[in-house]
Symmetry: C2
Subunit: 672 residues, 2 copies
């Protein structure tokens, strides 16, 4: 009965209504933060380190610049956070940067943002997993020795889980994210307490190492170039900040305010961690080299350079093995979780792009697992290629990563400027205008920051890999434009030309395809009669003389009042003879219609499907190409089909449910 009630509830006659369907699945801030923050926070695991790695080329002395570079990154980050707080207020629909750019600049800008975000998803997977491998490698030597293998395996495992459908909940995200925050904050806190307050002499294992200096080559200009590069590498910390702007609808009311608050919280936590790690690294004298083998002069034989997080954890928790173990494990975990957000984010973006017909339509409707599966395979495939091509080296992947993020940031801020200009043009109320001016000011500052970073990224990293991301973005842009163009062309072709309803067919000639005289055939025949066609006949294809003779004699014994025609098939084909016959009886009259009734057995297993209906499937596919031919499948459910139907009914969760506010909805419904 409850099933019936559900069906009835879902059914509204006459006109559509706005359902408050998502209300009960919305996220409180304490859950929304981990759901949307894992990507942004996990950047802290690699961004500070990248600053040191880049500076290492200029020798140990250059490391003194790291806190200053870090501070500039923090300023950019806070500017971006402040800007996005404006975005979530102005565009609470979850369209994010894509919507902002499309509405305010135009569809081409929106599509550019979308291309950048799609490229970013691939890089989020590649960078996060590579960084996870580098950190976990400190605990498990096997991972360190087979980094690429581990990364490929992890990506395949993640995609398998997402293909299968994992039932995520808030705690899936909350536990590792909060554990990561606790781990990092405790580490920074204890570390800074011991060094700055207690005045201990905490020295990292690498503190005594000497760096080969390349100073003679680093003239003024080259030095500026190097510092800018270090800065853009550090800007990897900003990746993932935009996630919340795509997830506003999943927040509890007041949505925009809660989202903005969460964004501020995220920003504060991220910059604190980021600067804390840099300062701690300076205090403990960590030495990192981009090319440890050639740059480290006095390293002991067999020295392997651990990640910054691992080194800090070992130093701060020296003598307390569990502390460093915990920090390293949660760092690995949050990085894997960050990679998984790409698998979650893709369906959300894909759905929006599909709604605007830039991607296949079925991505918009949920439940089409096949479409999403292709997306997941696409994501995993390219991430695997990147990991293999760049040998799972985070440093080499980051140039590709930052360009996409900052293209999206910059276009979004341009869009927001225009947004405020448009609103200002039609607002006269001074207080409101002042608030708008203020918001516009914030977005302007954001634009200056992100635009500058984008230019610096392009200048300093174009040859280092940014060009690959740009080429990928262009290709995705062209592909999506082509898809949209195709849909537009089809829509044009399908538009009713004269606004008049189509004319009724003047003559309906019904053909029932018969292979044997069994119950499906009888059912098809009875059903065909019920549609009261102008002509009704049964047709069989003679692929085997003996069988055909039997069928004809059995037919004549019954009083069907329907003639059975036999079509010869000299080469034992089915499709072509039927096609030729049907074409002939329809003739050239556009108002004549031929309806072909095909009895089909419905079976329960894929291997049964191999044994049945193959000819019917082929024939149906070919008949569709013929104008004026309708194809009706008259199914006969074999006993085995019931099981398969039940199996298919148990639908599985889809990736990205949590961030679409569909948290737990399927499981509660499944229980009915």
């Amino acid at each position: 009965m409850s099933k019936f009630a559900t069906a009835a509830k879902r059914l509204v006659l006459g006109r559509p209504f706005r359902s408050d369907r998502l209300a009960h699945n919305l996220l409180p801030k304490r859950i929304a933060l981990p759901v949307f923050a894992s990507d942004a926070l996990s950047s802290v695991a690699y961004a500070p380190q990248e600053i040191f790695l880049t500076l290492s080329v200029a020798g140990l002395a250059a490391f003194t610049m790291s806190p200053w570079i870090g501070l500039v990154v923090v300023v950019v980050m806070l500017a971006v956070v402040a800007s996005y707080r404006q975005n979530v207020h102005a565009y609470p629909s979850g369209g994010g940067d894509y919507e902002v750019a499309t509405v305010n600049i135009g569809p081409r800008a929106g599509l550019t943002v979308a291309s950048a975000l799609l490229v970013d998803y691939v890089l989020t997977v590649a960078v996060s997993i590579s960084s996870a491998a580098a950190n976990i490698g400190a605990l498990v030597p096997f991972v360190a020795e087979h980094k690429v293998l581990f990364c490929v395996g992890a990506i395949l495992l993640l995609s398998a889980m997402n293909l299968r459908g994992i039932r995520e909940s808030g705690s899936t995200f909350a536990v590792p994210t909060y554990a990561f925050m606790v781990g990092i904050f405790v580490m920074i806190g204890i570390g800074l307490y011991r060094t700055l307050i207690a005045g201990e002499e905490l020295r990292a294992d690498s503190a005594g190492l000497q760096l080969a200096e390349d100073n003679e080559h680093l003239t003024g200009l080259a030095m500026i170039f190097l510092v800018l590069r270090a800065f853009t590498q550090g800007c990897a910390a900003l990746t993932g900040v935009e996630a919340i702007s795509n997830g506003v609808p999943a927040f509890r009311k007041p949505k925009s305010r809660n989202a903005a608050t969460t964004l501020l919280l995220l920003g504060t936590i991220a910059v604190t961690m980021f600067m804390g790690i840099i300062v701690l690294a300076r205090e403990t004298g960590v030495v990192l080299a981009e090319h440890p083998q050639s740059q480290l002069l006095n390293a002991p034989p067999g020295y392997t350079q651990d990640t910054l997080i691992v080194q800090l954890a070992h130093t701060v928790f020296s003598g307390f093995g569990f502390g460093s173990f915990f920090v390293i494990v949660v760092t690995g975990l949050i990085l894997v979780l960050a990679a998984n957000t790409a698998f979650n984010g893709f369906p959300v973006l894909g759905s929006i792009l599909a709604q605007d017909r830039f991607l296949p339509r079925q991505l918009h409707t949920r439940g089409d697992r096949l479409a999403f599966s292709n997306g997941i395979l696409f994501l995993a495939g390219f991430a695997v290629v990147l990991v293999i091509a760049f040998e799972a080296e985070v440093t080499r992947l980051i140039p590709l990563y930052t360009v996409g993020v900052f293209v999206s940031f910059t276009l979004s801020q341009i869009g927001m400027l225009r947004h405020w200009n448009r609103l200002l043009a039609r607002t006269t109320e001074p207080a409101e205008r002042r608030r708008m001016r203020q918001s516009q000011g914030i977005n302007t500052f954001g634009l200056v920051m992100t635009g500058s970073v984008l230019v610096i990224v392009l200048i300093t990293k174009f040859l280092a890999g940014a060009w690959i991301a740009i080429v990928a973005m262009v290709l995705i842009f062209l592909l999506m434009s082509a898809i949209r163009k195709h849909y537009d062309r089809v829509a044009e072709e399908l538009r009713k030309e004269d606004e008049k309803p189509a004319v009724l067919p003047s003559r309906n000639h019904a053909v029932v395809l018969v292979s044997q005289l069994h119950r499906p055939t009888l059912r098809a025949l009875a059903y065909a009669k019920a549609t009261r066609p102008d002509v009704l006949e049964a047709v069989t294809v003679n692929v085997d003389d003996t069988d055909t003779r039997k069928l004809v004699s059995a037919w004549s014994k019954h009083d069907f009042k329907v003639p059975l025609k036999v079509i010869e098939s000299p080469y034992r084909e089915i499709t072509k003879p039927v096609l030729d016959y049907v074409k002939r009886i329809r003739g050239d009259n556009p108002r004549h219609v031929v309806t072909v009734f095909i009895p089909e057995y419905v079976v329960g297993h894929w291997w049964e499907q191999i044994l049945h209906n193959q000819s019917a499937l082929r024939l149906k596919g070919r008949l569709l190409f013929q104008p004026g031919i309708m194809v009706t499948s008259v199914p006969w459910q074999l006993k085995s089909s019931a099981k398969a139907f039940d199996r298919a009914d148990r639908e599985r969760p889809a990736a990205g449910d949590v961030r679409r506010g569909l948290l737990g909805s399927r499981s509660s419904e499944g229980g009915k």
Copy 2:
């Protein structure tokens, strides 16, 4: 017009007739011989050599036995040829051993034969290609060094050609086969003339080599075992002899007599070559060792053992490089051709087995490329596995090969004995009885021979690999039984229970699925009206509120006189809401029917297919599982579909056409 005429010609109303459709494609004996003989004749390339290789374990002295072992093989071969001459007279339908065993012994015996033949096809490919590699390796060192790679490549190439469809003709088979005959006969002729008549001292390169003797271990019993093994290895010469009995329908009239004559011709040529090669090998003193590295005592360093054919060619044509080159090339060619016969033979056997429902039904109807493609991939896949597992060593593959052939031979002869017994029981005319007794005598001798060989093969080669072939046969047997059982079960379920025609549906509720208001929708609506259902309504699924509102308001502006219902879809699914709705309106009355009309666009390219109809396909697939639901596709052909239709119309030739008497038929038809 000619297209129309063809369609009309193919179309016979009222009752089936026996077409003389194959008459003009039949094979004259001079073409039939190469078409069916390449497999059997190519055995000459490895069978004689295998006798020497096996005997080599017992030292050089054992080689003296080779002509005597060869003679026994010849006797068995002639007995088999004589027996099969009876078969082709008694069973001219092309069913071959499978038919003989099924009719006279029973379906299980027939299925055993079929399993043996299927295993044989795989081994024909593996053995022939491996032997080709060994021979071609003498000309191309790369092949000799990468034998397995060459074999895998060749098998993949052959399967690609057969998947694609190669237009074979009689000359495809005739040229290499006759060239091989000429090459081998000229070589034997010149060789024997020079040694036996001209009295020259022709010595093979390997003539001076010494063989390590293992005599102390070869007690009487072991020696007998060895000789028997050498004999069964030589019996590989018989593989392929049964091919003609499967091809009788492709012969010109009088079919049986022509087939029997061709069989005799084939037998004579094969035994002459076989004995000629053995005698020539003895005369030129060829030394072959199963394990050249360990057995050859005084071989020069880096000595590689060529195949017997290569050694003989080099010896006989010493100083005339082209002669040996020609023999080696045509030997390689006929071996590849023999491998290809397996790809040709499979569809023929598959079609017969499918007719008896031991294999998927679509294998019986021609034109289902997909089904045959799976067969080709199956064949190639297993052949590749065998080649890799046995390192392309003919000697190690032959134990698997002979067991299948002799299972088939033996069961066929048992069947023929019963056949004659049955005929004798109802014949009283003395002259005819005498002829039957004679034929039965020949088959009895054949049975004694083949049965003995089978027993010897099982005893001497079970552990050497015959068990693998037997396990494979058992598995194929079980699979085919399972398929047959499944079809029987389905047929039982489908059989009309009460011989009464199905009742007409009492109520037909028509539902037209609408996503937008465009021409395909209008057409579907008009067509649905024309079927005069009891209830007609349009239904749309609300996956996007804005779109749905637009649709509803557009609908209300038209005067369709058909209500539009909106089904809510809280999770933006299409399939499940429609399914629930349709189930609900049908209710539980078994005589109620719901017809779902689905407007579909027909597009021309696979990538367009990705962009359209995916939801419709999914929905159709799921609706079929619902009792009492009919699904009608109302196609709308987009412009691009015309091209795709033309493309699909150009059908390609299928493997095995020549041996089914369909030689060139498709090409002549294609020209219309």
